[in-house]
């Protein structure tokens, strides 16, 4: 399956693209997706134990993963995953 990943803020600057499409196994989770992101992105988003590093945030189709199944959230073909280096905050 294919999912679209949107990179925000500094992650956009690192990747150089706002949206990148990734090919994943049909049973892939958010955790599987994060593992194949560029190293520099992973350094910001993931902590030593593979969890989400504060204050980064990940959302699937506009829902933060903490309100879904966290890193174990299953992905589906066509999903849009937003990865942000800090809380998906607003002002």
């Amino acid at each position: 399956m294919k999912v679209k990943v949107r990179f925000l803020q500094e992650l956009y600057q690192i990747v150089g693209k706002h949206e990148v499409e990734y090919e994943l196994d049909d049973s892939a989770t958010v955790e599987d997706l994060l593992k194949i992101l560029p190293e520099k992105v992973k350094e910001i988003v993931l902590d030593e134990r593979g969890g989400i590093r504060y204050p980064a945030e990940v959302a699937v189709n506009g829902r933060r993963i903490e309100f879904l199944d966290g890193l174990k959230t299953r992905l589906n073909d066509g999903d849009v995953v937003v990865v942000s280096p800090r809380a998906l905050f607003v002002v």
Binding site: H18, S84, R86, V90
Partner: protein, 621 residues
């Protein structure tokens, strides 16, 4: 503490000084709170906001210009020509501090001049200057001419507050501008200055701000500054500006698009803070004494949207004039932002009003407006075809709105009056007549309560409940889940933000701080040694109730509601697809009234008594 007011009588071109008592200051703090109190005491009920009886209060707060942290702002209060109830707005830049350095903590603009005038205040000396040659001119030119006349070319010294043609021509969505690109935009108070024929105020001086305990002030100041600097939001604001929100709110499906008929915009990235930083940003900039520096300095080099180096655009302006009208070209939005600033418009209200116009135009063409009204609209538009997403039509319209030419005469009245005039009132998305800002409560449900109960009308700055529904400050919530604890936080924010607006601080402090952080520093400045955190928060609650009483006294504007579209029409797209704001509002409002001690939007007499508002008890329920 002493609070020195300058009363400017424009009828007689006279000024006099007045020192406010410590007791009033401690009860209402300054800025927004003090303005609400003075307006309630001095502006007679039921007056026409566009008359010489209305007053405009331009106020600082006890921390303004102290250099502590984000203390570079000022607050404006008066009866709003847009909403007919108490209006107020807040602006950054450097006018607030320079007003204090010029010798005064606040200005009350009274009466009305027969001819255009501008006022200079330099080290306590007030002078009136004929402004005939500035009338009709833009804000940028006005500042340039006044600085030349005052022999103060450096923009780091002194400050100019001005209105543009929009305010002069009594547009109800006109903004009071300062430092060229900063706006006290909301509630149309620039039209009141326009009525009074006050074009501008220049301030400069070298007065030192007195403090009860300077050493303690510096210690406390450092503590707060550290919290702000360490917060991840402060860093993001400096790098990407407020428009860092575009992608975030769009991802949540709460980015109002096409006049609030959708929750996501396909061109969001192309108008985002990230894209702005990459393509058009010259540098970032801060208000006076600011460490966050969220302001953008941008430019467009060539083409039809060429724009000189200037400030902006902010998240709200990008959204209102962009996604909400389907304009997805950031160059065009930078141009529109520049024009809106120079002509002196509130970009939130203007963008909403243009989105309303585009919807009306579409309806007229489809035969969905009353026939006579459709014909009148098409006639008035003359050569303008306000199609969705067309920046050229917007540019034509904004100019006409500023000078009330043709259709511009109705655009200048704001979205509500425009939509009502053409027989389609639900095409205007507003609360109490004030157009809503850039968060759809169908996707961030606490905003349903924040908007509905906002005293000045549709506004995100009375309670910024997005902070807990999306950011997780002070704790995380699911923006789509109904949770009554959100009601407690909305009330808390309304009271806390009333304190912040009265101290006159930047709201970007509030992600890293709560009301308890300001007790010691306020003691150090004012000498109120027995001040407690509870007292400060109760002052905020007092202010919130007092503002509500202004509406009660007017006999309208105290009903809490949301626009029909947000209650009845589910979002068709994004993560909040299928949601309306109905359930949230119906669940939250009764509990809110219980917490507030209100009945159907009116404070109970016992509530007023508890808050020390006995002198207004007759207005209570």
């Amino acid at each position: 503490m002493e609070f020195k007011l300058l009363r400017i009588d424009l009828t007689e071109w006279r000024a006099k000084e007045e020192v406010l008592k410590d007791g009033i200051m401690r009860k209402y703090i300054g800025g927004r709170g003090l303005g609400a109190y003075l307006a309630m005491k001095e502006i007679p009920p039921h007056i026409n906001p566009l008359s010489s009886e209305n007053k405009i209060y331009i106020l600082t707060g006890p921390l303004t210009g102290t250099g502590a942290f984000e203390t570079g702002r000022y607050h404006v209060v008066g009866k709003s020509p847009l909403t007919g109830i108490l209006g107020d707005s807040n602006s950054g830049g450097q006018f607030g501090p320079w007003l204090r350095f010029a010798g005064y903590d606040g200005i009350v603009v009274e009466g009305a001049s027969d001819e255009p005038v501008w006022v200079s205040i330099v080290d306590g000396e007030v002078r009136f200057h004929p402004a005939k040659r500035l009338w009709g001119k833009g804000v940028v030119y006005t500042e340039k001419k006044i600085r030349a006349e005052m022999k103060t070319p450096s923009e780091h010294i002194g400050s100019v507050l001005a209105i543009g043609p929009a305010g002069e021509n009594l547009s109800k969505i006109a903004a009071i501008m300062n430092d060229k690109y900063r706006a006290a935009g909301r509630t149309g108070l620039a039209a009141v200055l326009g009525y009074k024929k006050l074009k501008a105020i220049f301030v400069k001086g070298s007065r030192k701000i007195e403090m009860a305990d300077k050493k303690k002030f510096h210690e406390e100041s450092k503590k707060i500054l550290k919290k702000i600097m360490e917060h991840p939001i402060s860093d993001a604001l400096g790098k990407f500006g407020t428009a860092v929100l575009v992608n975030i709110i769009n991802a949540h499906g709460a980015f109002p698009t096409k006049n609030w008929t959708r929750g996501t915009f396909e061109k969001a990235f192309e108008i985002s803070g990230e894209y702005l930083a990459e393509k058009y940003l010259v540098t970032n900039k801060g208000c006076w004494g600011c460490v966050i520096r969220c302001a953008r300095v941008s430019k467009v080099d060539s083409g039809p949207f060429r724009t000189p180096v200037s400030e902006g655009p902010e998240y709200e302006s990008i959204w209102a004039m962009g996604a909400n009208t389907l304009i997805g070209d950031l160059k065009a939005l930078i141009k529109l932002n520049y024009l809106a600033n120079d002509l002196g418009f509130d970009t939130i209200s203007l963008g909403n009003t243009m989105a309303t116009l585009m919807e009306l135009y579409e309806k007229a063409k489809k035969g969905e407006l009353p026939e006579d009204k459709a014909k009148e609209l098409l006639d008035l538009l003359e050569d303008i075809a306000p199609e969705w997403g067309d920046p050229h039509a917007f540019i034509q319209a904004i100019w006409r709105a500023a000078y009330r030419d043709g259709i511009g005469d109705l655009i200048a009245e704001g979205a509500k009056r425009l939509a009502e005039y053409f027989g389609s009132p639900d095409s205007a998305i507003h609360v109490r007549g004030l157009e809503l800002p850039a968060y759809d409560p169908r996707g961030i449900n606490s905003m349903a309560l924040s908007y509905a109960t906002s005293n000045r009308g549709g506004c995100h700055l009375r309670a910024y409940s997005v902070s807990f529904d999306v950011l997780g400050v002070p704790e995380k919530f699911d923006p789509l889940a109904i949770d009554k604890r959100k009601v407690e936080l909305v009330k808390y924010q309304q009271d806390y933000f009333s304190v912040i607006d009265s101290l006159v601080l930047c709201k970007f402090n509030t992600f890293a701080t709560d009301h308890t952080d300001y007790v010691e520093i306020l003691k150090a400045v004012t000498g109120w040694d027995d001040l407690t955190a509870d007292e400060l928060l109760i002052a905020g609650e007092r202010i919130y109730n007092l503002e509500r009483l202004f509406a009660v006294r007017e006999g309208h504007g105290y009903k809490d509601y949301l626009p029909k579209r947000l209650i009845e029409e589910p979002l068709p797209d994004g993560p909040a697809k299928g949601k309306t704001a109905k359930e949230a509002l119906e669940t939250y409002l009764p509990y809110y009234y219980e917490l507030r001690g209100w009945v159907d939007g009116i404070p109970k007499k016992e509530t007023l008594h508890r808050l020390g508002l006995e002198e207004f008890e007759h207005l209570g329920a």
